[in-house]
Symmetry: C2
Subunit: 116 residues, 2 copies
Amino acid sequence: MCLDPAVTDPDLYKVIFENDRVRILEYRDRPGDRTSPHEHPDSVMVTLTSFRRRISAGGRQAEVDLPAGQARWLDAQRHSGENTGGTDTHSIFIELKEPRPAGLPAPADALGPSGG
Amino acid sequence: MCLDPAVTDPDLYKVIFENDRVRILEYRDRPGDRTSPHEHPDSVMVTLTSFRRRISAGGRQAEVDLPAGQARWLDAQRHSGENTGGTDTHSIFIELKEPRPAGLPAPADALGPSGG
């Protein structure tokens, strides 16, 4: 099963750049849109619009409410999302293609963005 | 000599997030503003406003003219910049903190963003 969001939700996630070190995705949706379960590697998300969404994984949920122009770290994780706000979403994901350095284990329970 | 842009131009470059894998800078300037010579590691720049600027290094120059909402790869490089447009600049730099993987040498002559 492929959990690449560019494959699970090709109408919402578009690959706009890729080289040896990063892959860059553009995400756009409308109120009420939902994504299929998918996986992100360690990534940075930059918001180009404000949005409100619900992130779900394994029976857990996180509410995310962000203004435009923010940058947020996203630990590697599997989840699905839903635009629960009243506005379209437009954001950029910078995926890190290299594995985590040895001795830096990924959090097992990351859900949604964690800092920025 | 420290060529960290957060040190050379602290009024323009602000560190807004840092962890083991990335450091995130926010850049803001006004028309006519210039940066001191500084170094970027391999980075991704996301534009939050449109801007026009001139990037200079070692007697070479590159003109950069970008709309808002763009993501561009920036190979590691040393340069200075000048806002040559008529609008304020607001952009985000995601710096990759890990060294380039073995066998992936950095271009010696990178000047300005190269793709996205």
